[in-house]
């Protein structure tokens, strides 16, 4: 079964066309890389794949649910997204942030300590998110994906701000999703990361996807 299929998808915000006639297929166990210049629509495409932005034209389905229909509500918990900005609450500590996610996702709360240790932040667990460095915040955002183990992982510049050691976190997230029969989509400007993280790379130009 295909994890995701976009067929002639287009997206217009206001009256500005952002995505045009996007065709894309993502199969189980696939690690897809998306490259393309700044402002071409990569982040927007990930939001469509996450079912968070309904397309304004064309047909698409993700994990069996048709995009733009209420069916997507059921499959959303199987999607994990890490975007340009880490989704952290500044006043809460790193552990509290992940604990909130664990409770809402119904994950055993012991897992929080484990993933924090895995990403190398065990000793910073009780630091407020606002008092953490950019890279620490990004590691915590990735720890969230380790916590909920989504089938479809969408990574938007997940390597930015990570030090050389921490890049294996991204590899590990991808490895797990693939092992669970899911898929990973990696958007990045980092050629090395694209090589190591993707089996297939597509390039976007002018709001369209080229293989």
């Amino acid at each position: 079964m295909a994890i995701a299929r976009l067929d002639d998808i287009s997206l217009t915000i206001g009256s500005v066309p952002i995505l045009r006639r996007v065709e894309l297929e993502l199969s189980e166990g696939e690690r897809l890389g998306i490259a393309g210049p700044n402002g071409v629509g990569k982040t927007t495409l990930l939001m469509v794949l996450a079912s968070l932005l309904p397309p304004t034209g064309g047909q698409g389905s993700v994990l069996g649910a048709a995009l733009g229909t209420p069916d997507v509500l059921a499959i959303r918990p199987s999607i994990g997204l890490s975007g340009h900005d880490p989704a952290l609450y500044d006043q809460l500590t790193l552990a509290e942030n992940l604990d909130h996610v664990a409770r809402l996702a119904g994950v055993a709360s012991g897992a929080v300590d484990v993933v924090l240790d895995q990403v190398g932040l065990a000793e910073a667990a009780d630091r407020k998110a606002a008092a953490c460095s950019e890279g620490m915040r990004r590691r915590t955002d990735l720890a969230r994906l380790l916590l909920i183990r989504p089938r479809l992982v969408l990574l938007d510049e997940a390597h930015a701000g990570l030090d050389a050691d921490a890049r294996i976190i991204v590899d590990e997230i991808g490895r797990r999703a693939v092992a669970d029969g899911g898929a990973v989509v990696t958007v990045t400007h980092d050629a090395d990361a694209l090589r190591s993280q993707a089996d297939r790379v597509v390039t976007m130009t002018g709001g369209m996807v080229r293989s």
Binding site: L52, A74, R76, I79, L81, A87, L92, V101, L104
Partner: protein, 223 residues
């Protein structure tokens, strides 16, 4: 996670953040007290007049600050938070109720502190049996929090939508104000309190229903 589990988790999260920042207890409350003090300063000192407007001023301050509490910074979601919560499969109505619950607690606390201050600052003539106006007041606190939380949901996301916030707040808050303040005024005539209490309760219910209906569309729109 069950619906009520989510509600509790959101309320808990907000209260943890509040404990961390002390935004309501250490900041909003003292400012509320200062706001109560402004009218006497602006008015030519006239204690008869003050004691007449005291309870009304209490409601004005409650309304304004309930909105500030519901819209407070530590409970605000950025777009990346909203995306994350959507993908966790959260019921947006559960979030709304959880938020409103934590805000109600804080608004209730706020009103509980402002009332005695108002009594000291304005020495109003409270009718005997005024404690029975507590129920409508508590219901009004709940309602004001619901209004504020709804307004916060509507204002999240697209900036053009923010105009809607005051437009929904005004009509929704007026019945609460009228009910809450008239409950006290009507106390002298026996049984007069009941209709006002019912008005406030009915408004609360209507607000909850409105929340249930609009929560999902609002979530999808706020992106």
């Amino acid at each position: 996670m069950s619906f009520w589990g989510q509600v509790i988790e959101f309320a808990r999260r907000d209260l943890v953040a509040e404990r961390r920042t002390g935004e309501v207890v250490a900041i909003v409350m003292p400012f509320g007290a200062v706001a109560l003090m402004t009218l006497p300063f602006a008015l030519t000192i006239d204690s008869a007049l003050l004691s007449r407007v005291g309870p009304a001023m209490f409601w004005v301050v409650s309304l304004l600050f309930a909105m500030q509490i519901a819209l407070r910074h530590s409970a605000a979601d950025r777009p990346e938070h909203r995306a994350m919560l959507s993908l966790l499969g959260i019921d947006p109505f559960a979030r709304l109720i959880g938020r409103a619950a934590s805000s109600s607690l804080l608004v209730g606390l706020f009103m509980a502190v402002m009332f005695p201050l108002m009594v000291v600052f304005y020495s109003p003539d409270l009718p005997p049996g005024w404690p029975s106006a507590l129920l409508p007041a508590a219901l009004a606190a709940l309602g004001l929090s619901l209004v504020g939380t709804l307004a916060a949901e509507v204002t999240a996301g697209l900036s053009g939508r923010t105009m809607l916030a005051p437009l929904i707040v005004a009509p929704l808050a007026i019945p609460l104000l009228v009910g809450g303040s008239q409950a006290l005024e009507s106390l002298p005539d026996n049984g007069g309190i009941l209709p006002w209490t019912l008005l406030v309760a009915a408004t609360d219910l209507a607000l909850a229903v409105a929340g249930a209906v609009v929560a999902r569309p609002l979530e999808e729109a706020a992106r």
